[in-house]
């Protein structure tokens, strides 16, 4: 199976500043993949490179095995929704659908019409007067009705209120369930990702800090708290991601596939939020990872 997005040493420069540098990653196809990272990590740049709106200054990128925007077929296979769901403010809902039909040979007019109907949108209304949530739904409808194999969404829900965000994800998840389209979406809202995504890629500073199945990541990470230890030793099958020491307490975040049997630790599970934050801190160099079995002198 070809990857949804595959990059090797990918880089993009704006003037003298590298927005993305030496980025090598493989994002699986047929999944709902969450792309997470701090502001300026290069997420938007990566997604723009994937749809061919930008060209790389270094390295290479392929999407569904092809070069981005290289052929009409390649354009057809990928649907893209840019940040803030841009539409043409002076055009009506119906005009947007007509334009979609004109521009896309595989346009699914039936789907588009029934979606607009279900959303309760007035076809004669100009998109500039729609609410943020309605505009996002219109933009999503356009991206889905071209029947792509892969949908790429850049921060699709960041600007929406909680209800509109929920409805957007509901539409997106229903589309995934009924049409089997793969999705790559970037977001800061980790709680939403936890519901919607089954695969996670954390990018920090243009590099991949963490990647894997959401369920497996949650099952293999634990928080250990116990009496303070100045020298932390963990069994060889555990990797310490972060550690912190209070006056009398030591807290570790460890990754392991094995049960934790040391009775001195209280073990608790982590939310996806905790997990992502820990890897962002680690990648930023706040607290370097300590390898398995390594004694940490403090």
């Amino acid at each position: 199976m070809s990857a949804a997005i595959e990059t090797t040493g990918l880089g993009k420069r704006y003037g003298r500043r590298w927005a993305l540098s030496d980025c090598t990653l493989s994002i699986p196809d047929g999944r709902v993949v969450g792309l997470v990272g701090p502001n300026g990590a290069g997420k938007s740049t990566l997604l723009h490179l994937a749809v061919g709106l930008l060209a790389p200054d270094a390295g290479s990128i392929s999407v569904l095995g092809g070069a981005p925007a290289s052929t009409p077929e390649q354009l057809q296979r990928v649907g893209f929704l840019a940040q803030e769901s841009p539409t043409y403010a002076r055009m009506t809902v119906a005009q947007h659908l007509r334009m979609g039909q004109w521009l896309n040979p595989t346009w699914d007019a039936e789907f588009a019409a029934s979606r607009i109907d279900e959303l309760g949108l007035d076809p004669a209304q100009r998109s500039g007067t729609l609410s943020g949530g309605q505009r996002a739904q219109l933009a999503l409808t356009l991206a889905v009705a071209k029947r792509p194999e892969l949908l790429i969404l850049d921060e699709p829900v960041a600007a929406l209120d909680p209800l509109a965000r929920w409805e957007f994800l509901q539409t997106l998840m229903t589309v995934v369930a009924t049409q089997g389209v793969g999705v790559v979406l970037s977001s800061h809202l980790i709680a939403d990702l936890e519901r919607a995504c089954d695969y996670l890629v954390v990018v920090v500073g243009g590099r991949v800090a963490l990647t894997g199945e959401v369920d497996e990541l949650l099952a293999s990470h634990h928080r250990l708290t116990g009496a303070r230890r100045d020298s932390v030793r963990v069994p060889a099958d555990q990797t310490v991601i972060t550690e912190s020491h209070a006056e009398k307490q030591t807290t570790l975040l460890v990754r392991t596939d094995k049960p934790i049997i040391d009775p001195a630790w209280t073990v608790s599970s982590l939310s996806l939020d905790d997990l992502v934050l820990a890897y962002m801190r680690q990648a930023r160099g706040d607290r370097p990872a300590k390898n398995a079995g390594l004694a940490v002198a403090r």
């Binding site: 999944r31 709902v32 929920w166 409805e167 994800l169 509901q170 998840m173 229903t174 995934v176 369930a177 009924t178 709680a191 936890e194 519901r195 919607a196 995504c197 089954d198 369920d215 949650l218 099952a219 634990h222 094995k258 049960p259 934790i260 049997i261 009775p263 209280t266 073990v267 608790s268 599970s269 939310s271």
Partner: protein, 131 residues
């Protein structure tokens, strides 16, 4: 037919919450053999969750012998779980209440009692890998 709900602050993975709710519905007699579970698309559109999560939960239930997927028709309940005996519930609630009272009378605070409960519960059931 049952309706699923999610507790996003519970720390329990979504698929495990779905499995748990089917277990509870079976124990309470809300689901019986022959009943149909909601389709993946129905669950996805009512909870806005990833379809693979629903399929994973249903696969787990199928492995346990509680449900069976019939292609094109849906997922049906085929197994049963022992119903919770109301008398047993009442008995343990009573003995727990008297245990709590004696702990309080011994001078333990609510937080301390809760900590004892959680540690002992974990030890007994091996939750979170603590055997």
């Amino acid at each position: 037919m049952i309706e699923f709900h999610l507790d996003s602050s519970s720390g329990v993975p979504t698929y495990a919450q779905l499995v748990q709710q089917v277990h509870q519905a079976l124990q309470l007699g809300m689901l019986e053999p022959g009943d149909r579970l909601p389709t993946a698309v129905q669950v996805v559109s009512s909870l806005a969750i990833n379809p693979n999560t629903v399929l994973k939960a249903y696969r787990d239930l199928e492995r346990e012998g509680l449900v069976r997927a019939r292609p094109g028709l849906g997922t049906f309940v085929v197994g049963q779980l022992p119903r919770t005996d109301p008398a047993a519930q009442a008995k343990f609630r009573k003995s727990m209440a008297s245990w709590l009272r004696s702990a309080r009378d011994a001078g333990l605070t609510a937080d301390e009692i809760e900590a004892i409960y959680h540690t002992t519960f974990r030890d007994a059931f091996g939750v979170e890998g603590v055997a």
